[in-house]
């Protein structure tokens, strides 16, 4: 199976998971939104990072809204992970196609797919474990954690920029 097939299948699957989940609970407008995002990404997003970014972000937001609307977490989690994989492969494909020559193509693809698979599996497993943990805290604790996450993410962004 080629990277292109994987990427296209990933976009279609992520959109399909969200469409089915939303139709099942009768949220047709959200299902239509998922269909539009997936369709646009598939039709126009190839090689266009902005469209691909909008498609990816849109599907993640729909998955997040889905969790808020009491849809199965595992289902939404799978949709988000598949969208992430599709977004990554779409970019990887664009990068390799931009080069007139791809040196060590097999090694490049093997390393990339191995790492991506590890991240996807670990992400799902970690999410399942995290989903089974029940932590309760009040508003103050939540605000403190929010502040902490703000600093943590700021340091991540600074690290990325460096």
């Amino acid at each position: 199976m080629t990277i292109r097939t994987l990427s296209v299948s990933g976009i279609a699957l992520a959109a399909l998971l969200l469409i089915v989940a939303n139709i099942a609970v009768g949220r047709f407008s959200w299902a239509l939104a998922a269909l539009l995002l997936g369709g646009t990404w598939l039709a126009l997003g190839r090689g266009r990072p902005v469209v691909a970014g909008i498609g990816f972000a849109g599907l993640i937001i729909l998955a997040a809204l889905g969790t808020g609307a009491s849809q199965p977490l595992l289902w939404m989690m799978t949709a988000a992970v598949v969208a992430l994989v599709a977004w990554d492969l779409d970019h990887f494909l664009a990068v390799t196609e931009s080069g007139e020559q791809v040196y060590n193509r097999v090694t490049l693809e093997r390393i990339h797919l191995r790492r991506l698979l590890a991240v996807a599996v670990a992400g799902v497993v970690l999410a399942i474990i995290a989903g089974s943990v029940d932590l309760r805290f009040g508003l103050v604790a939540a605000l403190s954690l929010g502040l902490l996450s703000l600093f943590a993410l700021r340091s991540v962004v600074r690290n990325l920029k460096r």
Partner: protein
């Protein structure tokens, strides 16, 4: 928006939304994205240390000839999982074949090679930069580097071979050449008769003249042929070269100058080049192949220049050229330039003007438009008048219709001296 920023925004949005709404599912949803970001941080490339070497199969080519460029990149540091290399092609050159961008994974001490062929118009092209982008596997964090590796190529103007270029300045040099020197001595052309001197060959004895004078023998004398000083002047003024619609005669002028330089240097003469139009570009006079190369390289760099100071030819530094030497000006010429050329002639220079015909070129550009024929007739009359004025002042004018090759259009006329320049006394 970069991919990493989008990812960070999504993670932050999910975490913040989860904390505000006190819903753990949103936090859970952020975990795979966080892992993805974390993996890119873990696998980001360490210090990039590359060796770049660029090789060109020729440092000088004639216009239209291709140049093969080979770019070798070797990784001297740790393995790089995601490397993107892009060659920066100098503006003006076009890639005919081959690859200028490579993407791949490069192990330690491993190298990759890019080979491509370029061609371009006349000019000097310098290669310098190679853009390298090294990133993590997921391409979230990339380090942009510009590696430098020099290399330059001269694309020289095309040179046509002229069978002969006849000139006859008043001053010659002491070295043997092909230009008649107005002096008796060893040569080919008959120059005069003189009394026999000891050592003269018997074959030179002029029987008819000797028969007229009893007791005295006369021998034929030949005209010496020597090298001369030639100053080539290329007119690079915008106002003289550019026609309507940004079409230019300059390339033709450059081609003609290159051909003339080649012909004069082949004849053993000392040739210098001055490009007139803006900044001073002076190639000091010299002989032979090295000088030919210098002149061609100067012509390769020549560009049309626009300067209000050098609008006329009055600032032409004639003192650069030896007095009474031959000046060869290549210029489409403007009507008001005649006086300056006549002034040069008055100072004792032999002046030859090779003029790519601007009227003919413009007519071809405007072909089919209303009134062009009448306008062309008027312009040709004006041009003929200008040429006649110059000819009357002793300036030799060769008009070149640029649609025909220089050798065909001018070569034939240039191969023989005009009648008024022939003869030993002229």
């Amino acid at each position: 928006m970069s991919r990493s920023l989008l990812l960070v925004l999504l993670i932050y949005g999910l975490v913040l939304a989860g904390l505000i709404t006190l819903r753990g599912e949103l936090l859970v949803l952020a975990l795979p994205l966080l892992l993805y970001l974390g993996a890119s941080l873990v696998y980001r490339p360490s210090a990039v240390h590359l060796s770049v070497d660029r090789r060109l199969d020729a440092s000088r080519v004639i216009e239209g000839q291709p140049v093969r460029v080979t770019l070798s990149i070797t990784n001297l540091g740790a393995p790089l999982e995601n490397l993107q290399i892009g060659e920066v092609i100098p503006s003006g050159l076009r890639v005919i074949e081959g690859e200028t961008r490579v993407v791949g994974a490069l192990g330690a001490d491993e190298g990759v090679e890019l080979a491509y062929t370029v061609a371009g118009p006349r000019g000097l092209y310098g290669f310098s930069d190679v853009r390298v982008s090294a990133g993590d596997t997921f391409d979230l964090q990339t380090e942009q580097i510009v590696e430098r590796s020099g290399g330059r190529v001269f694309v020289l103007p095309q040179v046509e071979k002229l069978s002969r270029a006849m000139i006859r300045p008043r001053r010659t040099r002491i070295f043997a050449g092909l230009v008649p020197a107005r002096r008796g001595g060893p040569g080919v052309e008959f120059f005069g008769v003189r009394e026999y001197q000891s050592g003269d060959s018997r074959r030179w004895i002029n029987q008819r003249v000797s028969a007229r004078f009893s007791g005295e023998i006369y021998v034929n004398e030949f005209e010496q042929e020597r090298a001369v000083d030639i100053g080539l002047i290329l007119d690079a003024r915008h106002s003289a070269n550019v026609l309507g619609g940004d079409h230019s005669l300059f390339e033709k002028s450059v081609q003609a100058t290159a051909t003339l330089a080649d012909a004069f240097l082949t004849g053993g003469n000392r040739v210098g080049l001055f490009i007139y139009g803006g900044s001073v570009s002076w190639t000091y006079p010299g002989y032979g192949k090295v000088q030919r190369e210098r002149i061609l390289q100067a012509l390769a760099r020549a560009r049309i220049q626009q300067s209000p100071v050098f609008e006329g030819l009055d600032l032409l530094p004639a003192r650069l050229f030896p007095i009474r030497s031959q000046l060869v000006m290549v210029s489409p010429l403007r009507v008001d330039d005649a006086c300056d050329l006549i002034r040069l002639r008055a100072r004792g220079y032999r002046v030859l003007l090779v003029a790519p015909d601007p009227v003919d070129a413009e007519v071809r550009l405007l072909e089919g438009r209303k009134g062009v024929e009448v306008a062309a007739r008027i312009a040709r009359l004006e041009r003929a008048h200008l040429n006649r004025r110059l000819a009357q002042a002793g300036v030799r004018v060769l008009e070149w219709r640029t649609e025909v090759p220089f050798q065909v259009g001018v070569g034939g006329v240039l191969a023989q001296l005009p009648l008024w320049e022939r003869g030993p006394g002229r």
